[in-house]
């Protein structure tokens, strides 16, 4: 089977090349070609990758589940937290605190996408989830100590408050470390008695840390980030006595038609918030995800186990850096 160049073949090739060139030129004129790295395959990745990644995050999580917690002394207000977060920024990540903590109004106008010097490849873990649970733990260990204000838990205080701490592991049955002094201990959702009594607290959902890391964000999700980073503006909301932070978030997101996905993690006896407003964990790099704080403190346990009290201020914030950029990074392991 020798290849012979025949007239018919040449004509066919020429015609095909011509068609290609002509339609490409036309497309440039009509601006129809979106130069994106073949994004249609992306759906596939998200679909399978999402599930896998999620498992890693949750599992890797002896550290990370708690990483979404622990911070800030009782007296620290969210504003102060932000400032401290700023100091803690070691310059390398360029994350600034005020954007996170100075509230919804501050960052409105100039929070447009900043130029991307390094692009999405520069984000932690690269584009397609390159970090394993072990690598994440190692990375977390190399990141140094906890964020400022993150207090160590007090075992005696926690035990006094009714937390059953296993003497050998130093944690309770759902792998939670003791809480710092003055903080509420977890209340298991199956034991919580929800009454009809209406109470109020303050809720907000923000993702302004993404604004500082726009180049890390999945390009398909850019349109979802509000210009000021506020998904749910801080407002008074009603809850019923005995309800948890999770109950509150779920109800309010439903009532306000904001998308929210969670998954129940029996090992931590809590729901884990995977995404709000279609902004998911890992959308802004391998170290990104949702965290919550109540009265300025990032609890070291899941949101289904935090029982609300009258007047609590609940804030959901998106971190791009394991909580360091929002002042909620909790160093695991030695200290």
């Amino acid at each position: 089977m020798k290849f012979k160049v025949t007239k018919g073949k040449i004509t066919a090739a020429v015609i095909i090349v011509l068609v290609l060139v002509v339609s490409f030129v036309l497309s440039l004129i009509h601006n129809q070609v979106c130069i994106r790295d073949s994004a249609h395959t992306y759906g596939l990745f998200r679909y399978s990758g999402g599930g896998r990644g999620c498992g890693v995050f949750q599992k890797g999580c002896g550290g990370m589940g708690e990483g979404r917690g622990l911070t800030a002394g009782a007296s620290v207000t969210p504003g102060a937290l932000g400032a401290l977060g700023d100091e803690d920024g070691d310059g390398a990540d360029g994350v600034t605190g005020p954007a996170v903590a100075s509230g919804p109004a501050a960052t409105t106008s100039e929070s447009v996408v900043k130029p991307t010097p390094a692009g999405i490849e520069s984000r932690p873990g690269g584009v397609e989830g390159g970090l394993t649970a072990e690598e994440k733990l190692k990375l977390a260990a190399s990141m140094g100590g906890s964020s400022p204000n993150v207090e160590k838990g007090s075992e005696s205080y926690s035990a006094e408050q009714g937390m059953e701490i296993n003497a050998s592991t130093g944690k309770d049955q759902y792998l939670t470390d003791p809480v710092p002094e003055g903080k509420p201990v977890p209340v298991e959702p199956q034991n919580a008695a929800v009454s009809d009594k209406k109470m109020t607290c303050t809720l907000s959902v923000r993702c302004d840390s993404i604004l500082n890391n726009m180049d890390w964000l999945d390009p398909e999700k850019v349109e979802l980030v509000p210009a000021d980073g506020v998904i749910f503006a801080s407002q008074k909301v009603t809850f019923y006595e005995g309800e948890s932070v999770f109950n509150l978030l779920q109800r309010e997101m439903k009532n306000n038609k904001i998308h929210m996905e969670f998954v129940n993690t029996p090992i931590y006896n809590s729901a884990y918030i995977e995404g709000i407003n279609n902004l998911y964990e890992f959308d802004c790099g391998e170290l990104s995800g949702w965290m919550y704080k109540v009265n300025g403190w990032f609890p070291n346990y899941g949101c289904s186990r935090y029982q609300l009290k009258e007047g609590d201020v609940v804030e959901w914030v998106y971190t791009c850096d394991l909580g360091r950029d929002v002042g909620g990074y909790y160093a695991t392991g030695g200290e």
Partner: protein, 311 residues
């Protein structure tokens, strides 16, 4: 076995699987490589639709009523199930339709993606059934026997495994039925015992057969340097034309896809390239690529009818 002989006999090989199967194996292989890769990776709804329709059409052209029955009894329900399973696990998407019992949202995007994935799955299965009808193992060995002798032998044996086993199991159970030891004879316990016997005969045969095949291939010098392949395939003018058409259309479609002309996303909202001359040209090229063998088939039938009517 006479059954085997009639299937891959020299005269039969060219006609089995329709007119397109009579083309040179390189043409067949290139076509299936393009179509399968495209079906697996192009998640654009128009591409999926084209791929599904063409796969159904071609499978029906190849195996007639059997394919229709298979497609509608197994494929369509499978597609529906796969489509409905997705939203149960995937809750991403901007359009919330309602909330599931678990508390997570049911989104339009997850349903659409479920459908897209299901269509992709069954069209790929359907394409593979066409592939099996057209690319017989002798063609595969002819193409790759010299480049990757061991692998191509293993591949062609593995690909023939299931149909071959099915045929052999029928032979064994027929023989057993003659002596009253088939799965249709006796009480339940006896039937189970007979079934196991058949299975054991089957496995013995398979192991022995594998060794025999390997031995006979070796004794004939398979894979030795300088050994030529027995072939009944010639690469003539119509193969050149078909290769040029398939290659040209395929390259055009893949180049267009690489440039983002078939861009489509499902999350968080569904959108992508739909209109515009460029996209439409890509869709038509893709449709043309998928339809090539069907066109050849129909053209051949038309010619044959014409010839017969002229006699």
């Amino acid at each position: 076995m006479p059954r085997e002989a009639s299937k891959t006999g020299w005269g039969g090989a060219a006609r089995e699987g329709g007119a397109f199967a009579g083309y040179h194996p390189a043409v067949n292989f290139l076509y299936f490589a393009f179509v399968l890769i495209a079906s697996m990776f192009f998640m654009h709804p128009v591409c999926l639709g084209i791929s599904l329709c063409c796969a159904f059409l071609y499978s029906i052209l190849l195996s007639g009523k059997r394919a229709v029955r298979f497609n509608f009894i197994y494929m369509i329900p499978m597609m529906l199930v796969a489509a409905l399973v997705n939203p149960a696990f995937n809750h991403e998407g901007a359009t919330i339709l309602t909330y599931l019992r678990s508390g997570n949202p049911l989104t339009l995007e997850s349903i659409l993606y479920g459908f897209a994935a299901a269509v992709m799955m069954i069209s790929v299965i359907c394409w593979f059934s066409c592939y099996n009808a057209v690319m017989t193992s002798d063609k595969f060995i002819y193409l790759f026997g010299r480049v990757i002798p061991a692998l191509s032998l293993i591949l062609s044996m593995a690909l023939r495994f299931v149909p071959r086993f099915k045929a052999q199991i029928k032979v064994i159970s027929n023989a057993q039925r003659c002596v009253g030891r088939d799965v249709s004879n006796g009480s339940i316990l006896q039937r189970a015992r007979h079934g196991l016997t058949i299975l054991s005969i089957m496995i013995t045969w398979a192991l022995e057969n594998a060794i025999e095949t390997a031995d006979s291939m070796r004794s004939r010098g398979y894979g030795l340097p300088g050994r030529t392949a027995f072939s009944i395939f010639r690469f003539d003018r119509r193969d050149k034309i078909a290769l040029a058409v398939i290659g040209g259309l395929g390259l055009y479609v893949f180049a267009g896809a690489a440039m983002g002309g078939l861009y489509w996303r499902y999350f968080p909202t569904t959108k992508g390239a739909f209109t515009g001359i460029y996209s439409i040209s890509l869709f038509s090229a893709y449709g043309g690529l998928c339809l090539t063998p069907a066109v050849i088939e129909l053209e051949e039938t038309r010619k044959w009818k014409l010839l017969r009517s002229n006699i």
